[in-house]
């Protein structure tokens, strides 16, 4: 029906936007593993992840922590940063998706790391799930699960950030170790 209408959403046939992403296999626990933290430039993102790293070290046996910060909230992390994480880490926590474009790009970072074989948990605030979900679909991982924390993050005090991180740790551990992480069919 109406076959002569041109679909305005289609660019070049070779656009790699409609594939299916494979997610990484999960370890049984975090004990003895190397943790990567991939922060963006949103306020409190680095502090939140640093606290998560400390708690995972203290309570869950993570041995080393590699922290990286990407320079641009809109884009996925640059290759050198991704290469560092691939080389030096066993699992990665990405965050914090706390705006329209950075929640989507955080999910994209997570899926890219998963495709490299690294289990990754993406942390977004709950105001931006629509944007995060849309990116997951676009990246070939519809239904990709990420961890939501209450919005907003940017206005928290240092104590507030620590509380938020402590509350998120059980979810992070679960998503890094649970098999049910895979994308919906």
């Amino acid at each position: 029906m109406f076959d002569s209408i041109i679909d305005p959403t289609l660019g070049r046939a070779a656009d790699p936007d409609r594939g299916r992403a494979a997610l990484a296999a999960r370890p049984a626990s975090l004990s003895g593993l190397r943790l990567g933290l991939l922060a963006n430039t949103k306020r409190n993102a680095e502090q939140f992840l640093a606290e998560v790293g400390m708690l995972l070290t203290e309570r869950h046996g993570v041995t080393t922590v590699v922290a990286r910060k990407k320079p641009d909230i809109t884009s996925t992390a640059p290759e050198p940063i991704l290469d560092d994480l691939r080389a030096w880490c066993d699992v990665v926590v990405v965050g914090v998706g706390d705006c329209g474009s950075c929640s989507a790009s955080a999910v994209a970072d997570g899926i890219i790391l998963e495709q490299s074989g690294l289990p990754a948990v993406v942390v977004c605030t709950d105001a931006f799930t629509a944007s995060a979900d849309a990116m997951a679909g676009l990246r070939g991982a519809p239904g990709y699960r990420y961890l939501t924390v209450p919005h907003p993050m940017a206005n928290l005090t240092p104590d507030g950030v620590r509380e938020r991180a402590a509350a998120a740790v059980p979810g992070i551990v679960g998503m890094l170790t649970r098999r049910a992480m895979a994308a919906a069919p």
């Binding site: 109406f2 041109i6 305005p8 979900d133 676009l138 940017a154």
Partner: protein, 357 residues
């Protein structure tokens, strides 16, 4: 809820009913911005492509983080859907290029700020394509202005797949998003065309673009003093609500011809107006404290007890002239983000076949 498939047998004899069914089909595909679109066909795209020497498959925009890129042919399809005539297409391509010169453009379409391009056209093309530059210049009512601006919005929506409440996360957006394309009223401007500021020779068709968050009117018909009018502009430019943290705010002017000519009569160049506004659009640090913005998430611009300029620099206050000379009012616009206007206008490139006719 989707519309049931049109019953073509029932409508086969009625071409108007057929046309309505096609419009509904486009809605059901999620291709529209809420208003009806004109269906794009292969022959339509070919007509549009004939106006440019660029290749159909040439990539003119990409969003690597989305895995999407946009071709010339795809832009043509979206321009058709927006209601453009084929001869508008070179202006659409120049507008798209101008938009993408903006440093803030890359993240803009997904931003909570929900910015929109302010597109400015200079040169004889304003006359030949009937691009309004006089009364009611912000629209609506003029096909070229309305559809060229709308085409940019449909390219973003359909080309990048950035739709509201999905990848697009505008908190409120702004009135007139994807609908503002102005001709500059060069005839009533006391200064050189805006595109000349943007580096293009006078008399050459050119398009400029700034991403903006809104426009605010300044109505001042009561004085012949240019400084009084400038002070009125400076007050709006320095408005605290528009300041989002960082070293400065942002602002530009679409002057109504009466204000522009008042400045011209009193010997003010465009640069003089910019310099005056830069020096006078200032706030005290105490104002930020009172508004709870002194500890904004990004660095604050001044120390306690001091004043600071709200504009980044004199030259980073873009100023153009548009509208009718029937009342002394102007518009302040707010560039999105901290990056000022690129300062570069894009010449309109017509196909050799067209220019040789």
């Amino acid at each position: 809820m989707t519309t049931p498939p049109p019953d073509l047998a029932e409508h086969a004899a009625d071409s108007v009913e057929q046309a309505k069914a096609v419009i509904e089909y486009c809605y059901d595909q999620g291709w529209t911005d809420g208003l009806p679109v004109v269906p794009a066909t292969r022959s339509g795209v070919e007509q549009f492509l004939a106006t440019t020497d660029r290749g159909a498959e040439e990539i003119i925009g990409s969003a690597p983080h989305l895995g999407r890129s946009i071709t010339v042919a795809q832009a043509a399809a979206n321009a058709i859907m927006a209601g453009c005539k084929p001869e508008y297409f070179p202006v659409v391509l120049a507008a798209w290029e101008a938009v993408n010169l903006e440093r803030s453009a890359r993240g803009a379409w997904q931003s909570t700020s929900g910015p929109s391009p302010l597109i400015v056209v200079n040169g004889p093309v304003r006359i030949s394509l009937e691009i309004n530059y006089q009364g009611g210049v912000f629209g609506p009512g003029f096909r070229a202005n309305a559809t060229i601006a709308r085409a940019i919005g449909l390219i973003v929506r359909n080309g990048y797949g950035i739709r509201p409440q999905e990848l697009e996360q505008a908190t409120q957006g702004l009135p007139g998003r994807w609908s503002v394309c102005l001709g500059e009223n060069e005839e009533l401007s006391p200064w050189e065309p805006f595109s000349v500021v943007g580096g293009v020779d006078p008399g050459v068709d050119a398009v400029s673009a700034v991403l903006i968050r809104t426009c605010e009117y300044v109505d001042n018909r009561g004085t012949d003093s240019p400084e009084a009018v400038l002070a009125d502009f400076a007050d709006t430019l320095a408005r605290l609500g528009a300041y989002v943290g960082g070293a400065h705010s942002s602002g530009g002017l679409v002057l109504g011809p009466e204000h522009a000519q008042l400045f011209g009569r009193h010997g003010y160049s465009r640069g003089d107006v910019q310099q005056w506004l830069f020096e006078h659009a200032v706030r005290d640090h105490a104002d930020l404290v009172a508004a709870g913005k002194a500890d904004a998430p990004v660095s604050e611009p001044a120390q306690a007890g001091t004043s600071f300029p709200m504009m980044p620099s004199a030259t980073d206050i873009p100023i153009l002239v548009a509208g009718a000379a029937n009342a002394a009012m102007s518009m302040v616009f707010r560039p999105f983000g901290w990056a000022p206007w690129s300062g570069r206008s894009v010449p309109v490139a017509w196909s050799r076949a067209l220019t040789e006719v």
